[in-house]
């Protein structure tokens, strides 16, 4: 092209608004920077926890010596020095049983800082990390092994492994057989309490008799005189007959039950005792000697001797432990496995609850309802639900699910806590009835026209009729329903009447319904009119069109809604606090004991765990790194769940691509 000015073209002309591309780019850039910054803080801080740091021998100017790793080197403003900055270290000194784990030391106060050659670190059950030089190991048979001897490490590792094995066996017994015992015994305790409740006049004496029974069982084998005395008193009460005889009968059963399981108790106790038979004597860096039960040491390592590969191994091992262990010591040590499982189960349950609900509602709203003022109002109302603070859902969940439905399941309509009488149940029943009638009608209708596979269709309609009859019975009997766990509820041991993972999931499902409804509606609206008309013109009914054409074509959009709902639900904390989250659980909502799914149980949740660690922990310094690590895992979990949904979505998208429209 020539530089010569052409008469026809205005070369000075520029398209209007071309520079706005920079503005748009800046918007995106700041978004990316924020996301990367946030992720960086979380990942860096969360991952750092598991990376071994070198341990220094720190000599103070006042003459004291500590072994410590540097957590942070920071500036602080000193008021007296006219606003000057001073540098200080935040040191991790461990040895919680001796003094504070963390210390802040000014740079000025440190005389020298050298790498502490050959120093050991160990995780201990009950007292956190120890930093020490080993001296001597006393084995169970009284043999001692000096730290200098070449087999010292092997011996110590042997002790740790043996203790680990014993601990594991004891746990198997405790969580298996002894839990069965506890469950059966609990039933007996309930019987006793029920008996006392049912006989208010004799309650006091019954309590006394129960007390006597407990005292007799507590007595050692040598206290024969005292036993005879108590037995006499007990027999006297028992001979009164009536409820007393019943109580004695229960006590007899309790004794038999205990005898049955006695050997396991003994075995478990013996295993636990075997852990405590070894002792490790060690020296702190300032020379003081201490001893600790060697069996309670979980692992040991020499961080200053680590090569890079050792560090990586250590990192992986500790990270794995964090993911698969239960929390210990106020959650500052150990792992977060129960929280991962709790979050996972809750999110999956929530998705299972919110999907059919939200999708069906959206289908009605978009496909069936006449588009008018009312529909628009409903749509706006649903959208606005997304703006209700989540804690409000928590309160609602507590009132409706926990106190309402939960108490109803526990003790029926008579319970004063249950939502006023059975009218609610009637409404629920009518909704279910309508749903079943629709299904039954479909089944009956199909038998008339659909000749092949006739048997299956008849079975469907037959079953539906049975369901309807059963439901009728349920409705009829509901005012007289006394709950499945009435006895426990009466003794303030609610089953479903207190928070649990089921109620938490339903509460969150309610909270995320707007997300699913909006996304589904968008997806349905995006299905081109052409294919709908084609389907109808082929003689398909409206429902067949929705089921066979519209739903598959909008499946990917619907799943996008689910992904958004999951992300919102999994990260939510506030409502969960009211409907079933707690900071430590012994039992997971899914385990190997019948019936495998225990959705009435309380659960741990990663989001709540973060809050609990950060603000409720007895040792906030120790908990701080765990906050980041937990956050990191929560993000990983959400990403994993989302990736699953995204994979399904992409699969569907490929399958039902409506590319030509």
């Amino acid at each position: 092209m020539s530089e010569k000015k052409s008469k026809g073209f205005d070369t000075k002309m520029r398209p209007a608004g071309e520079m706005y591309v920079w503005l748009c780019g800046m918007g995106l850039a700041s978004g990316i920077i924020m996301v990367i910054g946030l992720l960086w803080i979380i990942v860096a801080n969360g991952v750092e926890v598991f990376w071994p740091r070198p341990v220094y021998q720190v000599k103070m100017t006042d003459g004291s010596v500590v072994a410590a790793s540097i957590v942070e080197d920071r500036e602080k403003k000193v008021a007296e020095a006219g606003g000057d900055f001073k540098h200080e270290y935040k040191l991790f000194t461990g040895n919680k049983d001796v003094g504070p784990q963390f210390r802040y030391v000014d740079h000025d106060a440190i005389e020298s800082m050298d790498v502490a050659e050959g120093i050991w670190m160990a995780d201990r059950e009950g007292s956190g990390k120890a930093i020490f030089y080993p001296v001597e190991l006393t084995l169970a048979d009284g043999k001692t092994v000096s730290a200098e001897s070449p087999e010292f490490k092997a011996e110590l590792q042997g002790v740790i492994d043996a203790a680990e094995e014993a601990r594991h066996q004891a746990e198997v017994i405790d969580k298996g057989v002894i839990r069965d015992y506890a469950a059966e015994n609990k039933e007996l305790v309930f019987e006793i309490r029920l008996l006392q409740n049912n006989n208010p006049d004799e309650r006091k004496d019954l309590q006394q008799m129960d007390e006597l029974y407990k005292r007799i069982n507590m007595l050692g084998a040598d206290a024969q005189d005292q036993r005879a005395e108590l037995m006499k008193e007990y027999d006297e009460l028992a001979s009164r007959g009536g409820p007393f005889a019943q109580l004695m009968e229960i006590h007899d059963r309790s004794t038999t039950l205990f005898k049955e399981y006695e050997e396991y108790f003994i075995e478990s106790d013996a295993l636990k005792a075997s852990i405590k038979t070894t002792t490790l004597r060690y020296k702190l860096i300032d020379g003081t000697e201490r001893s600790y039960t060697a069996g309670e040491i979980l692992n040991f390592y020499q961080p200053n001797e680590f090569g890079f590969l050792d560090k990586v191994k250590f990192f992986i091992a500790h990270f794995w432990m964090f993911v698969t262990d239960s929390p210990r010591e106020g959650a500052t040590e150990g792992g977060i496995f129960p929280a991962i499982i709790g979050t996972f189960v809750m999110t999956v349950l929530m998705s299972a609850a919110v999907m059919p609900f939200g999708v069906l509602a959206a289908i009605y709203l978009r496909e069936y309802a006449a588009q008018g003022l009312f529909t628009q109002a409903v749509r706006i109302a649903v959208n606005n639900l997304a703006g209700v603070p989540s804690i409000v859902y928590g309160v609602f969940g507590l009132a409706f699910f926990v106190y309402g439905m939960g108490s109803w399941i526990d003790s029926g309509a008579e319970d004063p806590m249950a939502v006023a009488s059975w009218s609610i149940w009637l409404i629920v029943a009518i909704v279910v009835l309508v749903a079943l009638l629709v299904l039954a009608q479909e089944g009956l209708w199909k038998t008339r026209t659909w000749m092949p596979n006739k048997f299956r269709q008849q079975a469907v309609s037959g079953l539906s009729i049975v369901f309807i009859v059963l439901l009728g019975c349920l409705i009829y009997y509901s005012p007289f329903f006394n709950g499945f766990f009435a006895d426990r509820a009466m003794l303030n041991e609610p089953t479903f009447g207190s928070g649990g993972v089921l109620w938490a999931s339903l509460t969150l499902a309610l909270m995320t319904v707007p997300v699913v409804v909006v996304a589904t509606e968008e997806a349905l609206a995006a299905v081109p009119r052409g294919v709908r008309e084609a389907s109808l013109a082929c003689g398909a009914s409206k429902w067949q069109t929705i089921q066979r054409i519209v739903m598959p074509a909008s499946a990917s959009g619907i799943l996008t809604g689910l992904i958004l709902a999951m992300a919102r639900g999994a990260g939510e904390v506030a409502p969960l606090m009211l409907v079933g989250v707690i900071n430590h659980v012994e039992e997971l909502p899914i385990d190997a004991s019948y019936p495998f799914f225990h959705f009435e149980r309380k659960f741990m949740h990663l989001g709540f765990h973060i809050y609990d660690l950060g603000f409720q922990s007895p040792d906030s310094e120790a908990a701080k790194p765990m906050v980041f690590a937990t956050t990191f895992l929560l993000i990983v979990l959400v990403v994993v769940l989302n990736l699953g949904a995204i994979l399904i979505r992409d699969h569907l998208r490929k399958k039902y691509a409506t590319g030509t429209f």
Partner: protein, 270 residues
């Protein structure tokens, strides 16, 4: 629903007289979208196993009338009609008539090809599946017959399980025709079936229409004057919701009675 027996293609010449000259009857029919009337009190009838073409400028109501024959307009809110339309003497607005059974007798091909995002095979058998007919042998037979009738069999017989969306525009439209005739309807409505296609594909479809009219009564809406002249036996010219002239195609194009018709077919307006 009346059972539809497969009419075997006969060797009748297309000039043969129709077995039922007033098969589809429109009686004093008016139609409104909301308060605007788009069809004004029309009465006429169409013969069986012939091709009737509707021509006229945009907005004259020809597509609307076409979509009344299988009650596709039911989907739109705020419509109403007066008068009646009968097919073989039966009213299609009979309140006892399930619209699905009407649509089984009256197939439709749309302006823009709209195959389902499914395989070619599933597209064809869709109308059978929704009617609850799932027997493999029957479906296979229907697929072959429909595709052969739609002159598409040789092109797709080796990839019946491939997505229908991988076909070319012309093939997709013929697939839509195959889909529309799979369930053996009596009437085939075509709403500007070639307006999105190139001349070669258009030629194929026109040829197809010639073949199909031996079995089906075809009503076609078109903007293409030559097409109407080529494919139809009778032509109806609509203008502003009124049937201006309706006669043998040859007469409409060669020797129309009304000046408006002449202006339109000769390209002076429209």
């Amino acid at each position: 629903m009346a059972t539809v027996t497969a009419t075997e293609p006969t060797l009748t010449e297309h000039t043969a007289p129709s077995p039922d000259p007033s098969y589809i009857q429109v009686k004093n029919f008016s139609f409104w979208y909301g308060s605007s009337q788009v069809i004004h009190d029309q009465t006429f009838s169409m013969p069986k196993q012939k091709v009737t073409a509707f021509i006229g400028p945009s907005g004259c109501g020809k597509s609307t009338l076409l979509r009344c024959f299988n009650r596709m307009n039911d989907l739109i809110d705020g419509i109403h009609h007066e008068g009646d339309i009968t097919v073989g003497g039966e009213s299609i607005f009979n309140p006892m008539l399930e619209v699905i059974s009407l649509r089984k007798r009256v197939g439709m091909v749309f302006q823009k090809y709209n195959p389902f995002p499914k395989s070619i095979y599933e597209n064809i058998v869709y109308s059978l599946r929704v009617a609850g007919r799932n027997k493999k042998s029957e479906l296979d037979e229907v697929v072959e017959r429909s595709l052969r009738n739609a002159a598409l069999w040789d092109e797709v017989k080796d990839r019946l399980q491939d997505s229908a969306l991988g076909l070319s525009g012309g093939q997709m439209q013929r697939l839509c025709i195959a889909r529309a005739i799979a369930n053996q309807p009596e009437i085939l409505l075509m709403d500007e079936p070639c307006s999105a296609l190139d001349p070669v594909a258009t030629g194929k479809i026109e040829e197809l229409i010639h073949q199909l009219k031996r079995q089906f009564t075809i009503v076609i809406v078109t903007h293409n004057m030559q097409q109407a002249a080529r494919v139809s036996d009778r032509t109806a010219f609509f203008y502003l919701g009124k049937l201006i002239e309706y006669d043998e195609t040859q007469k409409i194009f060669m020797n129309p009675e009304k000046p408006q018709t002449e202006d339109y077919v000769s390209g002076r307006f429209g």
